[in-house]
């Protein structure tokens, strides 16, 4: 069983400048008397009074404008930021995928990077050894996997990273946006792997601006705005409120077919 509970949590960032980062200034400043008016470090309230209860099987989409606190919320849920006020409890192993490239070493080969990245995502060496072949096949990089990572193009790096990320068995999967910088043919392949990955995972929280991906992977949504939870509910309701229109009207036919949903429901738009 996995679960994440957050009670009235807030995350405040201190904004240090050159002066407040210096111990010398902090000590010597006491001697000369105060010159500046405001000695305190300014604080940004990135998240304010968040309460969430997520449990096994939840597939939550995070939507909101840039700077609304989506990434910060994901980091709070991952346990990277402990709430400055309030409290949180995380049960289960977290696989945070915020940046595809984190933990990759440009000097070692692709194969070694597969191993390292997997270990960073909480897999064991044995589990990764079983997956290496599958990942190698998926990335279509062939002999390039023996070469050091610095020789790879950006797209190749993304392929490698995506291959590793989608091969794991996460208990709690936290995905941040920015997965989609690959060519179209590969994206379709990656998409099906993403769907499989999410099916395997016990819980998903996914921040994205792409409606079609959200609809494919999630079943409920949270709308973040200025560090608050503005709305929480079913995916369609939240997206409709967030975008101001029914999202299904703008998805192309293929996507709708894949989702198995009927196109625009005129009756539904009346309810919301």
């Amino acid at each position: 069983m996995v679960s994440i509970d957050v009670w009235n949590a807030s995350v405040d960032f201190p904004i240090f400048d050159a002066k407040t980062r210096s111990l010398k200034k902090a000590v010597l400043g006491k001697v000369g008397g105060k010159i500046g008016t405001e000695q305190k470090v300014p604080i940004i309230e990135a998240l304010h009074d968040i309460s969430l209860n997520l449990k096994t099987g939840d597939r939550v989409g995070l939507v909101g404008h840039n700077g609304a606190g989506k990434s910060t919320l994901l980091r709070l849920l991952a346990g990277i930021y402990e709430p400055t006020r309030g409290s949180s409890r995380i049960v289960g192993k977290i696989a945070p995928v915020f940046d595809l490239g984190v933990g990759m070493d440009p000097e070692i080969s692709g194969l070694e990077n597969i191993m390292i990245r997997g270990l960073f995502l909480g897999m064991t060496r044995k589990q990764m050894e079983k997956r290496v072949e599958d990942i190698a096949e998926f990335t279509e990089l062939g002999d390039y996997l023996q070469m050091p990572l610095r020789t790879y193009s950006t797209g190749m790096r993304v392929r490698l990273a995506l291959g590793v990320v989608t091969s794991i068995d996460p208990e709690i999967l936290l995905l941040d946006e920015g997965i989609g910088a690959v060519d179209a043919a590969f994206l379709n392949k990656a998409r099906s792997r993403m769907v499989d990955l999410v099916k395997r995972s016990g819980m998903l929280v996914f921040a994205s601006h792409q409606d079609d991906l959200l609809f494919e992977l999630c079943n409920s949504a949270i709308w973040m705005d200025e560090g608050h939870v503005k709305m929480q509910g079913s995916l369609r309701e939240v997206i409709t409120a967030y975008k101001g229109r029914d999202p299904y009207a703008h998805l192309d036919k293929d996507t709708l077919e894949r989702l198995g949903e009927s196109p625009v429901l005129t009756t539904k738009s009346g309810e919301i």
Partner: protein, 242 residues
């Protein structure tokens, strides 16, 4: 590493009128040990600053980063140890002689023996100290970014204050056994002297005083105590500060 040691060994053995056969190993091993200690101090302060990317993306305990730093330094120490074995092979004769002296009229040393195995627990103790240094100094310098520079200049001073390129024998020789007086405290009050001596003495067959072990053990206990207090209070803040 080898070049530095040989160059300085030749120079200083002339300056201090020491036998090259015993002084050069003394200096080389001193350098190797100093490199490890210096690494713990300077890289330890940047443990968390340099791993900013990982800290912000992975919910791993902070000790992981400190251990990574110490482990890397340990590997580098192992590499430098090759120089030690070369030096040992060359100067096996003078070093294994009972009652050799490092400088002229210095304290007679017992020479290499099985006591050299004491180097293993000594290194383990040094590495354990590296752990708390990385955690404690790492946390402080993540908050106050001018600490790494301060530590850097202090270690530079300490390098010259610590008997690495000179030996305590020289103090005694210059001022006489009894009147060295306060000057001997320059070494004794310097904690790094005890750390260096802890590992260097067994490696080159010097006489080792038990008080080095006591001092280093005391530092280990106090240091880890402070590091644990810092961890308890500021562990959660580090990801905000980096």
């Amino acid at each position: 590493m080898a070049i530095t040691a040989v160059g300085l060994g030749l120079l200083y053995s002339q300056l201090f009128q020491a036998q090259i056969g015993t002084f050069l190993p003394y200096l080389t091993v001193g350098f190797i040990v100093w490199n490890f200690i210096n690494g713990c101090l300077t890289e330890g302060t940047e443990t968390f600053i340099r791993n900013e990317g990982l800290i912000k993306h992975l919910p791993a305990p902070l000790t992981v980063y400190a251990l990574r730093t110490v482990w890397r330094l340990t590997l580098m120490f192992a590499h430098n140890l090759l120089v030690y074995f070369v030096v040992l092979a060359i100067f096996w004769g003078p070093l294994s002689k009972v009652g050799y002296t490092i400088t002229k009229d210095g304290v007679p040393q017992p020479g290499l023996s099985w006591a050299a195995l004491l180097a293993i627990p000594a290194f383990v103790l040094l590495a354990v100290n590296g752990g708390w240094v990385a955690i404690l100094f790492g946390i402080i310098s993540t908050r106050y970014r001018d600490i790494p520079q301060v530590i850097m200049s202090i270690t530079q001073l300490l390098f010259f204050m610590t008997p690495i390129v000179w030996s305590t024998d020289i103090l005694a020789a210059r001022f006489g056994e009894d009147s060295a007086g306060w000057r001997i405290w320059v070494a004794e009050l310097n904690p790094l002297y005890h750390y260096i001596q802890l590992l260097r003495a067994p490696l080159i067959g010097n006489e080792q005083s038990w008080h080095h072990w006591v001092v280093v053990l005391a530092f280990t206990v106090v240091g880890w105590g402070l590091a644990l207090v810092a961890m308890r209070n500021y562990r959660a803040r580090v990801s905000y500060w980096v």
